[in-house]
């Protein structure tokens, strides 16, 4: 049954007419044209769909619209300042922390959530938090370098 659901995406209020069980990921991609968050598994096990709800990372593929109602959602499209990249984006850019890049927005959003939660995470905290994200190209060494850079840790 469709209903009107309002929520905020990258600071702007959005109202959609949708089934309340529909995943946030689908609404972002199909209704709002924000395709930065990706479908990777549909079960919260790969992190490609990561967005922020408030300051927390959520798997948008597993977040029904009834949960997103009235929430502040931030997607990869909403983090840069004009053409100036967000520091986490810049770190991924500098470290060439991508191969196919399909998972990259998810890693960046997860990293932002990690750093919002803890300014200077340790190596173990980084690995533990980001173990929810997959990169099937297995570009993990460069990803880890980018995150270390953001966390003020030395790359290796």
């Amino acid at each position: 049954m469709n209903q009107r659901i309002s929520f905020f995406v990258n600071g702007q209020q959005q109202t959609v007419n949708t089934d309340a069980d529909r995943p946030l990921l689908d609404v972002l991609r199909e209704d709002l044209g924000l395709t930065g968050a990706k479908y990777g598994c549909g079960e919260g096990k790969c992190g490609a769909c990561s967005v922020l709800m408030g300051d927390k990372r959520v798997f948008s593929c597993r977040t029904p619209m009834k949960i997103a109602r009235n929430q502040q959602i931030t997607t990869i499209e909403g983090i840069s300042d004009g053409t100036k990249l967000h520091p986490v984006q810049q770190a991924f850019y500098d470290a060439e922390a991508y191969q196919c890049g399909y998972c990259t927005p998810g890693w960046i959003m997860a990293t932002i959530a990690l750093l919002k939660n803890k300014n200077q995470p340790t190596e173990d905290e980084i690995v533990s938090f980001l173990d929810g994200n997959l990169c099937r190209c297995c570009g993990y060494p460069r990803i880890l370098n980018a995150v270390r850079q953001c966390a003020g840790l030395k790359g290796r």
Partner: protein
Amino acid sequence: MQTRSSDLIGMDDYDEPVDRVDYQFGLTRRGFVQILGAGLLIAVADAPVLAQRRGRRGGGMGGARIRNVAARVHIGQDGSITVMTGKVEAGQGSRAELTQAAAEELRVAVDRIQLLMADTGLVPDDGITAGSGTTPRSVPAVRQGCAAARALLVQLAADRWHVEPGGLVVQDGKICKSGNGESFSYADLAGTDEGAKAFQQPLPASITLTPLSEWKVLGTGVARPDRTDLVTGRHRYPSDIIRPGMLHGKVLRAPSYAATLKSIDVAPARAIEGVVAVQDEGFVGFAAPSSFAAEKALEAASQTAVWETAAHPSSKTLFAYLREHARNLPKNPFTDDMARAAKSLRQTYNVSYIQHTPMEPRAAVAEWDGEHVTVWMSTQNPFGCQGEIARAFSLPTERVRVIVPDFGGGFGGKHSAEAGIEAARIAKAAGKPVALRWTRAEEFTWAYFRPAAVIDIEAAMSADNRLTCWHHVNINSGGNAMDAPYRIANNQARSQFVQSAPPLRHGSYRALASTANIFARESFMDELADAAGADPLQFRLDHLEEGRLRDVLTIAAEKFNWSERAKKKEPNLGVGLACGTEKGSFVAACVEVAVDAKGKIAVRHVTQTFECGAVMNPDGLLSQVQGAIIMGIGGALKEAMEFENGQITNASFYQYDVPRLSDVPKLDIHLVNRTDLPSAGAGETPIVAVAPAIANAVFRATGQRIRQMPIRLPTPSSARA
């Protein structure tokens, strides 16, 4: 001489097998309309299509024999340079590398080149992107086209100035006359009638490429040109393509392999607002304004479906099944020699089915314009898929245009056109563009798998521990890297590949059968070394000629400090090594593993040396080697498809575990740059040594020899719950 048994199937085909889905839909015909990409003015867009018709379409591996320079290079009147290639970018770095190739020969900076990839309406057919072919074949093809373009432009300038072309200097996209500072830009010359005419001429028979000693762009680290779009989410993957009025599609899937649809009622699906249902023979698909609604339609119809199922083998008995169904299992021709030998050994190694699981599952958007269809899709094989789609709809290939935006990973798993054909079939019925994005479960079940293998190896040694005969048989998975690179007395070595009756649809994979064959051989080499009482490194060196494989092995062992670490005895820690060659490149790996009380294996350290001739892009190469090692740990320790009653029972990342950040070991990677040798591809071979090195290390840590991939130790009884 070592021989391969390739009589059963063309080995070319088996190297990059494409197991096509046999869709066949109705007939339609009309003229082909070219729709060019924004800002491009290509007058000869049909040329590449025509030029390729004679050859094997889309299945080819190499650079296209383009008809003329215009098929490869376009110089816009605004000075823009567009270079066209049929290769795809799926994360392996082809966009950067081919851009470098063009920039090198055109004497411009990389940011001057716009590389147009994998649009069958606009680019030459450079063959499938697979088999490590881009570096050895497409890079030279692009360089030839660009070098020819440069030579033509220089000639045009020389004609204008009435001077000899040899005295002119080309730099930064300008042709300069020495002395007086006069120059022409490429755009000045290419925009003229003479320029257009020159670009239409056949490619000259001999084209001189810039020698390595003069390389300015090739050989340097160049990042992916579109990396800003990757980190901002702006890049549109095939899954992200949006067309006006587009609907979202779903396809009915059988509940198990070999099941056939007896009946279905699509009326409950059609009752949902906005839903289009298609039923064409066994194909049933739906389209709706959202994928959620399409899914609801699918669920509604599925409940009415009646299926007839059929028996299907189980993964639990897979290896016995493959052996039982092996066709013409060969006899060892050296049995007499083996019986007389001082020592002999025979072992069997099994390799499970695994899947590529690229981050982006299959996705396509199809849009019909009368009897022409344009399909945006993720595939490594754009021209092959164009052909597949054309066959499915009985269309001339000219009426099918396949556009492949840079996509989310392939690893050999995206050679086929299923999603494109399905999207096109639903779009045809809907009369609107349709996006079809496979779910992860669909990808796990209905895409294809890396073939499982059963490998038998037998060998004999003399009293002084030298190999005297060798027999290697691969059942089912293929013949790549099957021939032993080791010295065997009197060349008494045979390696043979035989097909079986594979229960799962199988196809290509990164390095395909080399991983299985090298896993078996390198595990076996350690077993032979044990039988000889020799160190595994020394035993290999005793059987390796001087050369590239010996070099990488020696370097890896030195960097790892093998001789010291192999002597150490620490409980539950072990080191192992392995080496191999495939597709013209060479790799050796040394690893250290730790085994915990529950028998869980962790790879702690990998030192790998890799050599692929002259390095084109050291940054891209490092990424490929890092990625291959870590992906290889997945196949070595974690991944195996499980199936029962025709169903994949672990079709989810919850059950099918792949490498994550916490699995990444300490990596020491040593790239050998042999500038004296031609460049070989690097996307595959760096994966092949890691699994056997791990198996060998596990043996040293535990005394248990695991002859199966994934390598899993039996759970100790004390640790069982």
